[in-house]
């Protein structure tokens, strides 16, 4: 018994020494689930290129990421929504935002006899999700879709039941285009939905939409693209009906980037520009402005630089939109703020 214990201790000691000598920097991170596929790809490729840095990212959700970062249990966090002024004020240390990739939400629907892409005006989406538009042949919908024979069936609304960045983007958009939505419901990772069924995750929402006749729900563009789910066009701020794809999402970011604040906390829903898709958002890495451990600081700065240059090449393979050039340039300058 004693011998076994001794052997175990020796092995543990040896492992610790080996780890210390090889000089590997292990970074722990946690946060948003939406960018997890591209993050894990990045961290993997980066580790292969720079074996001394290993990044371990736990996709536990934006809220969890922010809390763990504030508690100091992770080296950096990830979030689908920018931290609020209140949250930043509560943190014991300064936290910087770095946009990494772009995401978008798309409306997916299931109406018997309608196979084409439907056009959704801002008013139509707000009305449907507020419960004021209840039939598929509502004038607001038929007007935008000439030639489509919309049935007089009741609309079944499907939304996310779990707290999610996808919901944050969707409700952020609805808050911008509808005062009623802004005042009654507001934006958040979970909201008090006036109507509808809740599905867990993108798969839950798309599953319910697929199964339920006359249903409409919103899903993440990446998920829709990877699973071949059809979705509709949405009217943007310029009045055009735009289909979400990598180009229109990047265009939205570029349209909004002109007013990019120095801390990168910007909402790009309903962005200006004729080709901008209106329901898009950045997702951010949350980095402490001051990192005591020099090795960790260098590793994080090194990764940020790589992510903004080399890393962006991997985005489109995983159907994430690339950051606009102007944003990348601004971010590269901001890396020096990490001390």
């Amino acid at each position: 018994m004693k011998k076994t214990l001794l052997v175990v201790w020796l092995l543990l000691g040896a492992a610790a020494i080996v780890a210390a000598q090889s000089g590997t920097v292990l970074l722990n991170a946690a946060g948003a689930t939406f960018p997890y596929p591209i993050y894990s790809k990045w961290f993997d490729v980066y580790h292969t290129a720079y074996p001394n840095t290993q990044i371990n990212y736990q996709p536990i959700g934006s809220g969890g990421g922010i809390r763990q970062l504030q508690a100091g249990t992770v080296d950096f966090g990830g979030s689908d929504g920018p931290m609020s002024d209140e949250q930043l004020a509560q943190s014991k240390f300064k936290i910087l935002h770095f946009p990494t990739v772009l995401g978008a939400d798309v409306p997916s629907y299931n109406i018997a006899g309608v196979s084409g892409e439907l056009n959704f005006t801002e008013k139509a989406l707000a009305g449907i999700f507020l419960g004021t538009i209840t039939k598929w042949n509502d004038p607001e919908l038929t007007k935008a879709n000439p030639g489509v024979n919309l049935p007089s069936a009741d609309i079944v609304v499907v939304h996310r039941s779990d707290g999610s960045g996808t919901t944050y983007i969707w409700t952020d958009f609805l808050s911008k285009v509808s005062d009623e939505w802004k005042n009654k419901i507001g934006k958040g990772t979970s909201v008090n939905w006036p109507v509808g069924l809740g599905g867990k995750g993108n798969e839950g929402v798309s599953g319910l939409v697929k199964q339920t006749p006359n249903a409409i729900g919103y899903i993440e563009l990446v998920y829709a693209a990877q699973n071949g789910i059809a979705f509709g066009k949405v009217q943007n701020a310029a009045g055009k009906f735009i289909k979400a794809d990598l180009a229109s999402v990047t265009a939205a970011a570029a349209g909004a980037a002109k007013n990019m604040p120095d801390d990168f906390r910007i909402s790009i829903t309903n962005a200006p520009g004729a080709t901008s898709y209106p329901i898009a958002s950045f997702t951010w890495l949350l980095i402490p402005a001051h990192i005591e451990d020099a090795a960790k600081r260098d590793a994080i700065k090194g990764f940020l630089k790589w992510m903004l240059t080399e890393g962006q090449k991997y985005n489109e393979g995983l159907t994430y939109a690339q950051l606009p050039k102007t944003v990348i340039e601004k971010e590269l300058k901001a890396i020096s703020l990490v001390q």
């Binding site: 809220g63 922010i66 039941s161 008090n192 069924l197 809740g198 867990k200």
Partner: protein
């Protein structure tokens, strides 16, 4: 629990010397007592720590909403207004539906397995039932989504509606997901517990009881229903409360089929929400302090509900025992 503590105290009087205590320890009996005591105390400790932690971390929500938390029907994370009423309602309704379906089904199966089926068949079937009890709940959730939900929307729901549609319980639109579907899936999940435990209990009923009843001229069914089942009543109730506890706390399977809409609606076709589901759904993305605190208070409420229902169960068992049935 307290009984164990007092016996130990009696057996080791405080004025006995350390040496005597050590000698007693050597005999093994004391060690067994001590270990049992420590483990039993451990359970008490874990439970009280759990309640303490829930109580402590729900401070913000408790002070802000007070008792109104139980009656408020709103759950609004954006404007920080939280109430538990729809979740308490949903948890109770789904569990009730589950028991209404599972108890007759489970009891009948248990009676068949213990009284009617040949022993070999009974053993094989109970082995399979025990396997069912070990299936992860997410599998039952998937079963719910792919089988029960479509069945409910296209066949079962309309059929129920055509017969009972006039009652408020079965009115309103039928989406396939909702209280009834969640209750059915829960029933499928808890029925193995009822069958398995009830069968074991029925098998322990002495042979003489059956023989005596038959000798008095009772039919097979009369002997089973009027003698064997009442004898095993306490154990059967125990199995039902085990099933209830599982139904109250079930998370994944319920959230996949209930529709996740925090509303109080009389119709069983309507979507609803349960305490366990909302915690699982919203905990990871709960950014506000009050929001998090309200979710934790929901956990406390669920704990309280389980506590109360278990207490009622105990009272019920004591009451039925006093009323006859199994002789003391």
């Amino acid at each position: 629990m307290s009984a164990t503590a007092t016996t130990i105290a009696h057996e080791v009087p405080p004025n006995t010397g350390l040496r005597a205590f050590v000698r007693k320890l050597r005999s093994g009996d004391e060690i067994a007592h001590l270990i049992a005591l420590v483990f039993a105390a451990g359970i008490l400790l874990i439970t009280s720590l759990l309640v303490y932690e829930l109580w402590r971390t729900s401070y913000l929500s408790r002070t802000k909403f007070g008792w109104m938390f139980f009656w408020t029907r709103t759950w609004d994370p954006v404007f920080d207004n939280f109430g538990a009423a729809p979740f308490i309602y949903g948890t109770l309704v789904t569990s009730a539906v589950a028991l209404v379906i599972a108890v007759p089904l489970g009891l009948a199966s248990a009676i068949f397995l213990s009284e009617l089926a040949p022993r070999k068949v009974s053993d094989i079937i109970s082995f399979l039932i025990d396997l069912l009890a070990a299936v992860p709940s997410v599998i039952y959730g998937l079963l719910g989504i792919f089988v029960v939900v479509p069945l409910m929307r296209t066949t079962l729901g309309p059929a129920i509606k055509s017969v009972l549609g006039f009652t408020p319980l079965f009115s309103g639109p039928n989406y396939g997901v909702g209280f009834l579907t969640a209750g059915i899936v829960l029933a499928i999940m808890v029925v193995p517990f009822i069958i398995s435990v009830s069968r074991e209990v029925l098998l322990t009923v002495p042979r003489e009881q059956r023989e005596a009843a038959l000798a008095l001229g009772a039919t097979r069914w009369e002997s089973t229903w009027q003698v064997v089942v009442p004898w095993a009543r306490t154990g059967i109730m125990g199995s039902i409360f085990l099933a209830l506890a599982r139904a109250l706390g079930e998370t994944m399977a319920v959230t996949m089929v209930i529709g996740n809409d925090p509303k109080i609606t009389a119709s069983l076709f309507a979507p609803g929400y349960t305490i366990a589901s909302v915690i699982a759904n919203e905990f990871t993305e709960a950014t506000g302090d009050l929001y998090l605190s309200a979710l934790i208070e929901l956990g406390l409420v669920l704990f309280l509900m389980t506590f109360i229902l278990n207490g009622l169960a105990r009272i019920l068992i004591v009451a039925t025992e006093r009323g006859g049935g199994r002789p003391a």
